[in-house]
């Protein structure tokens, strides 16, 4: 199983624990990767606000780089997944546009023919590796632990772009993963809601209300932690949880936000420090001790 790995920007910046835990987990699962070190940031939808075409050129370039290696792209961030997929979708639908974009890649000797697939590590696990094989790498179960799945936006919408019809498992991939580690899923209103990150610097009041609503309702549903495939969701739900909860619910930040590779890593028996669980703003101490207790 070989992939062209694009870690994204945040995994190297604000969420180093994601990069570290992902690297260890991929090694354990024998996922071979070649890092696309010359690939650019995807633009995260923000760059596209200023110039959508520029964003598309940058992302098609990334797709072409992977195509040259004849490998599918593996990402560890939902936003990378969504943004690159949207660019891919646009050029597949409009071949004239693809031709136009390839014009900008000529100088670098690149040309995208439209064959690259993009998969989040979560999908690689569920679809390419499969739950059965995944479980073989587990050393323990997270029995009686409750997780609230927080998909965020970019890995579930638009469903047409993310090819949900042909891959129906993508719609509940987190639930499948949580089940695989032996834990329980709680039902709450934030499952596919927006974390508010995109408007954090633009309308902080609204952003914090979203953080408070979703972390609060996750806690109310009995979850011990939230698990999310997007580091940007993590940054907002984790980093701003104290301020958001204090301001809107008058209570404390009480629910840790776990990355997908951290969840997998816990079931694999990898030590918490290697998974970077001490690097979260909302402490994972209680969560970890409850997990170890229940083992």
């Amino acid at each position: 199983m070989k992939y062209a790995f694009f870690p994204g920007c945040v995994a190297r910046g604000g969420t180093p624990e994601l990069y570290d835990s992902a690297t260890i987990v991929m090694e354990r699962l024998q996922i071979e990767t070649i890092e696309l070190s010359t690939a650019s940031c995807t633009g995260a939808g923000v760059l596209q606000e200023k110039n959508e075409k520029m964003g598309d050129i940058l992302n098609v370039r990334t797709l072409a780089l992977a195509e040259k290696l004849e490998l599918p792209i593996l990402v560890i961030c939902s936003t990378c997944q969504g943004v690159i997929s949207q660019a891919n979708f646009r050029v597949q639908k409009d071949r004239k546009y693809l031709e136009e974009i390839n014009g900008y890649l000529k100088d670098e000797g690149l040309e995208y023919k439209g064959t690259t697939k993009v998969k989040h590590l979560l999908w690689v696990i569920i679809e390419d590796i499969g739950i059965k094989k995944l479980k073989e790498s587990f050393k323990t179960e997270l029995k009686d632990v409750n997780f609230a799945p927080f998909y965020g936006c970019y890995i579930v919408r638009p469903s047409e772009v993310l090819e949900f019809t042909d891959n129906p498992g993508r719609e509940n991939s987190l639930e499948q993963l949580i089940g695989a580690v032996g834990a329980n899923v709680t039902k709450y209103s934030g499952r596919t809601a927006c974390c508010g990150f995109p408007i954090l610097f633009i309308n902080q009041e609204n952003s914090l209300k979203m953080v408070s609503n979703h972390t609060g309702s996750a806690k109310d549903s009995g979850a011990d932690a939230i698990v999310t495939p997007c580091p940007l969701c993590h940054l907002n739900l984790d980093g701003y949880q104290p301020k958001a909860r204090r301001k809107n619910r008058g209570d404390n930040a009480d629910i840790p936000i776990i990355h997908v590779p951290q969840l997998v890593g816990l079931a694999m028996g990898i030590p918490e420090t290697q998974l970077g669980l001490q690097k979260h703003v909302v402490s994972t101490k209680n969560f970890i001790s409850s997990v170890t207790q229940k083992k």
């Binding site: 920007c9 945040v10 190297r12 910046g13 604000g14 969420t15 180093p16 624990e17 070190s37 010359t38 690939a39 650019s40 940031c41 633009g43 995260a44 939808g45 923000v46 760059l47 596209q48 606000e49 200023k50 110039n51 959508e52 075409k53 520029m54 050129i57 940058l58 370039r61 900008y104 890649l105 100088d107 670098e108 936006c153 970019y154 919408r157 638009p158 469903s159 809601a193 927006c194 508010g196 995109p198 408007i199 610097f201 633009i202 309308n203 902080q204 009041e205 609204n206 952003s207 209300k209 979203m210 609503n213 980093g239 701003y240 301020k243 001490q278 690097k279 979260h280 703003v281």
Partner: protein, 319 residues
């Protein structure tokens, strides 16, 4: 086929001012839509059930409701499809609207947002004879917004409206786009100014794509909002945090091939916006002590000149 469903009822004339779930069971033909079932209930089982519907052909926009938590037009949603996927059928009125009775909501808030964006053509003058001259391409482009049937489904599921009623909202903004893009309208820059500056305007959308996902007419309101952001920037509106955010991102990738997060946070707040900058300190500090503060010298892409060259090429064309 036999169908069981639950409908959220509410009657302000009842003493206990609460809503309740009412279950219904009925037999109906296999290809039936949810609306067919609701009409059958109304006609044969319980005439007190209140809902709006008219055309049953997805053109009038009356029958927007939430089905298993997601807003849709029930006239074009097949029972079988929902029950097979979700195993249950729960019907509630649209969210983000106040309920009048049962599945009937007030559309006053919806249309007040429409009215806010000056929803009619504002040409400076009319042609002396005949029609305005316009390309077919420009008129067909407007179909994206004209296809909107004002059903309220996007407004129901908008994640910003859920926390902030001041947001103009996807439907009204998509309609505003139609006038911004109409070559016959002469108030493009005033419209963009308003939408850029006003509270709840184009920069308040959180880009969650819910409206794109749920719109039954492929209006893709979020895409329309994004286009207006691009237009606002092109027209020189640089006074919003949204602009600064986007511009900094753009420049960072140009320079490093990757994102400089620290710079982004500071620049979006605004270099001279002292309160905002002070606001960033606690979170910055927390990140620092946890060991997750982004590096001062940001991570770069290797061979980032290739990326810079693309920028130079594109920017040259835009001039």
């Amino acid at each position: 086929m036999q169908v069981s469903m639950r409908v959220k009822r509410y009657d302000p004339e009842l003493k206990e001012n609460k809503s309740w779930w009412q279950g219904y069971k009925l037999g109906i033909h296999a290809n039936a839509t949810i609306l067919d079932a609701l009409i059958k209930i109304r006609e044969e089982v319980d005439g007190s059930l209140a809902l709006r519907c008219a055309c049953r052909a997805s053109i009038c926009g009356s029958c927007g409701m939430r089905v298993n938590g997601r807003a849709r037009l029930v006239c074009k949603t097949r029972l079988e499809e929902i029950i097979q996927k979700d195993g249950e059928l729960n019907i509630e009125p649209l969210a983000n609207h106040s309920v009048i009775r049962d599945l009937v909501v007030s559309v006053d808030s919806f249309f007040s947002k429409i009215k806010e964006i000056t929803p009619y053509l504002t040409p400076k003058s009319e042609p002396v004879t005949g029609e305005f001259i316009a390309s077919n391409e420009s008129m067909e482009n407007l179909l994206k917004s004209m296809n909107c049937i004002m059903c309220g489904v996007c407004v129901s599921d908008c994640t910003v409206l859920e926390v902030d009623k001041k947001f103009i909202g996807p439907a009204a903004l998509a309609k505003a786009w139609r006038f911004v893009e109409d070559p016959r309208d002469d108030e493009k820059s005033q419209r963009i100014s308003y939408l850029n500056d006003t509270e709840g305007g184009i920069w308040d959308c959180t880009r969650c794509m819910q409206c794109v996902e749920v719109c039954p007419k492929d209006v893709a309101p979020m895409d329309r909002i994004m286009e207006m952001r691009e237009t606002a920037i092109r027209l020189g509106h640089k006074n919003s945090p949204g602009y600064r955010h986007s511009e900094t991102f753009y420049r960072s990738v140009k320079k490093h091939g990757r994102l400089d997060e620290t710079l982004l946070a500071i620049s979006s707040a605004g270099w001279t916006n002292i309160p905002r900058l002070i606001d960033l300190i606690p979170i910055g500090f927390k990140a620092l002590i946890r060991g997750k503060l982004p590096p001062i010298i940001p991570h770069k892409a290797e061979k980032k000149e290739a990326i810079k060259n693309i920028y130079v090429k594109v920017e040259k064309e835009d001039e």
